[in-house]
Symmetry: C2
Subunit: 337 residues, 2 copies
């Protein structure tokens, strides 16, 4: 079996660590494995599948002989190093938002638009976590009846801010319960026992970056430049799974029964929709795995050709690490590396 040399750029972060775990779980045929991070982390040892790996400092010269770079670094690092990786002959699967909307960069959810990887020029972008979760949930519905408009409210986990987000929730709850002063570092405000309607900075219309990603990235992934999305993104005191309350308007009616049938057979989706028995997706039940759970499917009683649903998915896994590894798998399957 052919092996591929893999580098993880940003290997010490929450997503980077999960990428390593997912590569192992899914038996990705890796040969050489390079764990790259900032100078600060260089020299640290990581054990993976019984072997010890030493974290190396990521530089422009880190990518010789590498076939695939899984990039879990911030935008400015991806911008600085991804071109060098491409020049060295690697394909970069980039979880940052740096290149997502570039015309020559495919933006891929493997369940939705795997064929787009073929058009890559060296970089393939991994979409935003809430976008991946929503679009995986909606894909079969969109194929059956084109989605023209979405109204979305998100309930996003603290893991979206990485390891520090999780630590901050824990620290704040511990400080509150022991009567100490709450420190705010990672989020704009206290997240313990609170919800914060801000993820990213705001544009002049009043939408946050995270809110605009759903429309901008959704249009590209669904190949529907006319898709209209009004999104409100909210951080909630939950560890890892994002939840989304979604209303879709479709070009023809999808009955709830038809929607459930489509969702029950959709790739990457698990239908959990028996509210009378208190069964619906929740963050707690959907963490640490890869499926997007969908439930609360019902007719929108406020207009025709419109459905309401609720979905949850692990932000670190399908929302980031797993989706990136799945893209690498498509590259392997299609002989594109």
């Amino acid at each position: 079996m052919k092996k591929y040399n893999v580098a993880i750029l940003g290997a010490t972060g929450a997503v980077g660590q999960e990428m390593l775990k997912v590569l192992g779980e899914r038996n990705f045929p890796y040969g050489e494995l390079k764990l790259l991070a900032s100078k600060r982390s260089a020299g640290e040892e990581v054990e993976f599948q019984g072997k010890k790996f030493v974290i190396e400092e990521a530089t422009e010269n880190s990518f010789e002989n590498i076939n695939v770079v899984l990039c879990a670094a911030e935008n400015y690092i991806s911008e600085a190093l991804s071109p060098a990786a491409v020049k060295a002959g690697a394909v970069v699967i980039d979880n940052s938002s740096a290149f997502r909307l570039n015309d020559d960069v495919p933006l891929v959810v493997p369940e939705v638009n795997p064929e787009d990887v073929k058009n890559h020029k060296g970089i393939i972008a991994n979409p935003n976590c809430s976008t991946i979760i929503a679009l995986t949930a909606l894909n079969e519905l969109n194929k059956y009846a084109k989605i023209n408009r979405m109204v979305v409210s998100t309930f996003q986990a603290v893991s979206g801010a990485g390891v520090n987000g999780i630590k901050e929730l824990d620290q704040q709850i511990s400080d509150i319960n022991s009567g100490k002063t709450v420190e705010i570092k990672t989020f704009a405000h206290q997240i313990a026992y609170n919800v914060i309607p801000q993820i990213g900075d705001f544009d002049e219309m009043g939408y946050s970056q995270e809110e605009m990603k759903m429309q901008n990235e959704g249009r590209k992934i669904f190949h529907n430049p006319d898709l209209k999305v009004n999104c409100t993104c909210v951080r909630v005191p939950v560890y890892r799974s994002h939840s989304e309350s979604i209303t879709i308007e479709t070009e023809k009616e999808i009955t709830p029964e038809k929607a459930r049938e489509l969702l029950a057979n959709a790739d990457g989706v698990k239908l959990v929709d028996d509210p009378a028995s208190k069964k619906y997706p929740m963050p707690l039940d959907t963490s640490n795995q890869d499926l997007i759970y969908v439930g609360r499917v019902r007719k929108d009683i406020s207009q025709d050709n419109s459905l309401v649903l609720w979905c949850c998915g692990d932000q670190v896994r399908k929302g980031a690490a797993t989706n990136a590894v799945q893209i690498a798998e498509v590259l392997v399957k299609e002989n594109l590396i």
Copy 2:
């Protein structure tokens, strides 16, 4: 100054206790004050404004000489006792949902439809908490341009389930952090570090009772039988303030600037809308007071004549106790008791 004899029915619950507090804070001109609860609580002593009150068992004979009953009891208790209170000559302001949709029972948010109290036949209903919060926020917008449709996702505090809801969140967080097994009693699932898309039971279409209240009660309070609402109600691990993500469609355009002007001058509303400075309503900042905070006001980029906003309000106060006391104040002002 004329005094009014007041009874609080369900005086030991979260809302009943808050009603007592609010009566004091707002200097309601009470004469006799009767605190009624179940047999179990009868005999307990409560201190209020320097006097001791003994909780009495609520029976059909509890309402002699009472002018106003503030009912914070469950539906079946209100159904059993409110008619007796009315027969004894009292006006019942009922926080349960038992009579809300009855034609001869006004359903009142004093900032929105105070004139409706005049039509009472003994019972005036206090609306559902999320409905009060949304409609107080939307009232001036609805007056300026009729709201035809609303899409709402709620982020509801555990206080909506009373004292037990608050205790359950605390107990679960404490148990989790000390490695104990989590007990689930009040909510359908663990609420700590989770969100639950269920408040109340579900109808055959898949909407929960709480979700349908927004449309059914909204129509009655706004005097708009054609109002269409698609609502998703979600419990979040927050103590007291509900948050709501709301999209409204109006019969003519309301620009965000106009909306902010209307909201800045709206009764019962505080506009907090400076997202660039990280200022927007949040549960933590809006608890233990009576105003509904509104922010994140923006044009709906997905359709015309449509606005998006975010509001928060204390569920126990404006969502229940304060609104009931405000109704009593309208009765006094209009000489209706």
